[in-house]
């Protein structure tokens, strides 16, 4: 429980209620040793609020309490409260006392009276159990018997003084009409609003046919508090006040850890996957495989051994598992081993707030680390849009602070191309990653395209990819753009095969060319060798020729000299 959140300084002046959300609103609980007025119409939860304050005090904070019932018999109150699982029987032995103070039916009244008798008895009982807290439930029942306003006022102040003297933290519950007191129509117990140190107003209204409960702290002497109306739900464990993050509250711890989206290429596109504890929004028109994509995430989470919960507003749990199995997402064994819980939320009725509380409770009970809500836009279907937005905000806030990775799908209106619930939920601005799925109708085909619209803190691919579902699973394919047009489906396939053929042809042609060139090179080399050989031969021939010419010249010269000598006619020529 989130009980130790308040700082020790304020806690000493405040009495923690232990009611989810309420202690955050008031910064620690009700004013200690003072009186608090809880007012509201019938069925607002005044008694439950007051009783829970006592039960938590006795159970969690070691402050025994007394419950003074003026209207309902305490037996009935405890019987009703048993359904919240509070250990009343155990607490009643020593730490929780119920006092029946209903005016007796056979009582005759004659003239003015006071409440001293009750206070004398209570003083004794408070001493016996060392009570620190006290609740006067439906005080108006006994006040109504008093003859005039002055007497009522006197008794309330008597009570107030008595409480102060005994240092008890007190809650008065009081029925109030519709709306708040105004100057023109003061409420009969308006003076109490001024007397008490803290005033809490509970209301229960119907907005667009949906029940809506609100809690508002009207005043709190000597303390700051959240002044807005906060929706609340009376859930399985009692009161649950919805609060948004209050300024100054610690931020949730961030992490660099990535978790797989269940689709390998999508992980790559996102730079490794979704961030742990991130909120992922998948939008798209009906049938664009939003559920499938979120199912892939769930499967991947289960494979990692993380406890996962799928909340489906569209189909039953078993249907979800069967349908996802058709695209190779096998969740059945995880569901069997209870690692995965599939919840059909079609049966959850009530306001968006109530839905959120139920989902939270289920997720906490399942200890889910990964959560899929399909589609989250269903939340905005019930109740007012403003509320639904607050719900989405709190959903994300909660999942972040509990470090739950949340994948929501959201339906888009096909005709308008706008998110059905998105305008109400504004979840797209809050989500960390937004993946959009759409159809591309072309050449008589409808193909699924996927793009990442945003992904905070992550470099992500800007390209549209084609999402292909087969019984082997979910894959992403590159898409082709040709002449400014995006090709998908069979056109992409055709284009792909055409490219493949063209590539093969060009490869073959290349190889052929290489072979030809090799041959030519070899031929040239052979020719080069031949020519070189010939050149050598020629050179040899030329040398030979030169030498024979020289020797012949010499021989000829020598011959003519000899001839002349033989003839003896001429004198030998001198040079």
């Amino acid at each position: 429980m989130k009980l130790e959140r308040s700082s020790p300084v304020t806690a000493s002046r405040k009495s923690p209620s232990g009611i989810l959300g309420f202690d955050e609103i008031t910064g620690g609980g009700l004013p200690r040793g003072r009186t608090t007025l809880v007012a509201g119409g019938p069925g607002c939860g005044k008694t439950i609020f007051a009783l829970q304050f006592l039960v938590n005090g006795a159970k969690e904070f070691g402050e025994p309490g007394i419950f003074v019932a003026f209207e309902e018999e305490s037996r009935r109150i405890t019987a009703n409260a048993e359904s919240f699982g509070w250990p009343l029987t155990q607490l009643r032995r020593s730490r929780l006392l119920f006092v029946d103070a209903q005016p007796k039916l056979d009582l005759t009244q004659s003239g003015d009276f006071d409440l001293c008798g009750m206070l004398a008895g209570l003083a004794l009982q408070a001493k016996q159990i060392k009570a620190r807290r006290i609740v006067f439930d439906a005080l108006d029942m006994v006040l109504a018997l008093l003859p005039d306003l002055a007497a009522r006022r006197r008794e309330v102040y008597r009570l107030h003084d008595w409480l102060m003297a005994h240092d008890l933290t007190c809650i008065f519950t009081l029925k109030s009409g519709v709306g708040e007191p105004t100057f023109t129509s003061p409420q009969p117990y308006g003076f109490m609003q001024f007397m008490v140190d803290c005033s809490v107003i509970l209301s229960h209204s119907v907005v667009h046919g949906v029940s809506q409960r609100n809690l508002r702290v009207q005043k709190y002497r000597g303390s700051s508090f959240d002044e807005n109306e906060s929706p609340f739900v009376i859930g399985d464990t009692g009161f649950n006040v919805a609060i948004s993050r209050i300024l100054g509250q610690l931020d949730a711890k961030v992490t660099q850890e990535r978790v797989s989206s269940g689709v390998k290429r999508l992980d790559t596109m996102l730079g490794g996957g979704y961030y742990r504890a991130a909120t992922v929004l998948i939008t798209g028109v009906p049938g664009t495989a939003k559920t499938t994509l979120s199912g892939a995430f769930a499967e991947a989470a289960c494979r990692r051994g993380e406890r996962t919960m799928i909340v489906s507003f569209d189909s039953d749990g078993s249907e979800v598992i069967r349908n996802l199995a058709s695209v190779g997402i096998k969740l059945e064994r995880f569901a069997k081993s209870r690692l995965l819980r599939v919840v059909s939320a079609r049966t959850i009725t009530g306001s968006a707030e109530a839905c959120l509380v139920r989902i939270k409770a289920l997720a906490v009970a399942h200890r889910a680390r990964c959560l899929v809500i399909d589609p989250v836009s269903s939340l905005s279907n019930s109740g007012s849009e403003v509320r639904a937005h607050g719900v989405a905000e709190r959903l994300i806030d909660w999942s972040k602070s509990d470090r739950i990775t949340l994948v929501c799908t959201s339906l888009l209106n096909e005709i308008e191309g706008q998110a059905v619930g998105d305008s109400a939920l504004h979840i797209s601005t809050l989500a960390d990653t937004w993946i959009h799925l759409n159809y591309l109708v072309q050449a008589g085909e409808r193909n699924r395209g996927m793009s990442i619209i945003k992904s905070r803190g992550t470099a992500h691919s800007n390209q549209v990819r084609e999402l292909i579902l087969s019984n082997a699973g979910v894959t992403l394919a590159d898409i082709f753009t040709a002449g400014g047009e995006v090709l998908m489906g069979t056109m992409r396939w055709e284009k792909e095969s055409a490219e493949r053929v063209a590539k093969e042809v060009s490869e073959v042609a290349g190889k052929l060319k290489l072979v030809t060139l090799d041959a030519q090179q070899a031929e040239l080399q052979v020719r080069l060798k031949a020519v070189q050989t010939e050149l050598v031969a020629k050179q040899v021939e030329k040398t030979l020729l030169a030498s024979t010419t020289a020797s012949r010249k010499a021989v000829t010269l020598r011959g003519s000299v000899r001839m002349r000598e033989l003839r003896g006619g001429d004198a030998p020529r001198r040079k």
Partner: protein
């Protein structure tokens, strides 16, 4: 009204809160009533809730002053100053007697 009840002893127990105005008024109203209608056949026990809160608890007395008529007949409980004599007489079953 039977003859028996006419003779019966009236037993009262009055729970008061110390000497608060309401309680003092109730006590004096009760004494006046008894003197007028039940002279010599009444008993009044006054219990101060502050001095004896256990008895107040045991009797389930929340509001003071509270008058209990213990006998004769069924126990009756009247809360307040007992200022409305006619109403008190009626509750105690004394109206017929007075008439």
């Amino acid at each position: 009204m039977t003859a028996a009840s006419r003779q019966a002893m009236y037993k009262f127990r009055l729970f008061v809160a110390a000497d608060t105005l309401n309680s003092a008024q109730a006590a004096s109203n009760l004494h006046a009533l008894c003197k007028a209608h039940l002279a010599g056949r009444h008993e009044i026990e006054v219990v101060d809730v502050f001095k004896d809160p256990k008895r107040a608890l045991a009797e389930g007395v929340r509001m003071t002053p509270t008058l209990l008529k213990l006998s004769p007949g069924p126990v009756r409980r009247i809360v307040g100053t007992l200022a409305d004599v006619a109403r008190v007489m009626q509750t105690l079953g004394l109206d017929a007697e007075a008439a």
